[in-house]
């Protein structure tokens, strides 16, 4: 079974802090994704990566950056957290051929 893990289930940070969210997948998938999920808005794509060191902006990249130094790991970075970044963050991965994405359990981030 595909396993996608996220470093924290719950995280509380203060405004202005730098925040790192980590995601690891164990299926040698080429593609990895970061979404945020907010009530009534569904999932919105922040960034994705189709290869090591490659990244592309999704629909809402402002205020975020990403890093993919190794194939299995994709990090989401909030350079200076703000209260409007309080949300559920979901990581996903998919193979080069299949378009099915496999999701991690999510990190609920609260910025005070």
């Amino acid at each position: 079974d595909v396993k996608v893990t996220q470093s924290s289930r719950y995280l509380v940070k203060r405004t202005g802090e730098k925040v790192f969210l980590e995601c690891v997948q164990d299926m040698d998938h080429e593609n990895m994704f970061w979404y945020r999920q907010d009530p009534g808005l569904g999932l919105r794509l922040i960034y994705f990566s189709y290869d090591v060191k490659m990244k592309e902006k999704g629909d809402i990249p402002e205020g975020y950056s990403v890093s993919r130094e190794k194939k299995e790991r994709f990090s989401l970075i909030l350079e200076s957290a703000s209260t409007n970044q309080t949300s559920m963050y979901l990581c996903a991965s998919s193979g080069a051929v299949t378009d099915t994405q496999y999701f991690g359990p999510g990190t609920r981030l609260t910025v005070l």
Binding site: V4, N31, L43, F48, S49, E56, D99
Partner: protein, 115 residues
């Protein structure tokens, strides 16, 4: 650009009665369509997907969906609801262009199942 519209934000059914969750899509190309389910405090799980083979797609846990091009719909159904089906359901579309299989999610339908 592709998009999906989930026509109901909340659906409530009694246990043992049929489930219908509605989804309409918009895509410039022949789309791939998915339904994902999210149980409370869990990640998203793939229920089923349509990729231009049979128009009636069977998924896990007794769910199925029918692709209707003329109606641009991909409604999710189940003949008999179970309490364990209570969750949030997302209709998802992927256009057939671009890299890395970008998906566009609907806003979700919360299914409540009552006794």
């Amino acid at each position: 650009a592709q998009s999906v519209t989930q026509l109901d934000s909340h659906v409530s059914v009694s246990e043992g009665t049929p489930v219908l969750l509605r989804c309409n899509y918009s895509s410039s190309y022949s789309p791939s369509l998915f339904w994902y389910v999210q149980h409370p405090n869990k990640g998203l799980q793939l229920l089923l997907k349509y990729t231009s083979a049979a128009t009636l797609v069977k998924g896990i846990n007794g769910f199925e969906a029918e692709f209707k091009k003329s109606e641009t719909s991909f409604h999710l159904t189940k003949p008999s609801a179970h309490m364990s089906d209570a969750a949030e359901y997302f209709c998802v579309v992927r256009g057939n262009t671009g890299t890395a299989s970008k998906l566009t999610f609907g806003t979700g339908t919360r299914l409540q199942v009552t006794l």
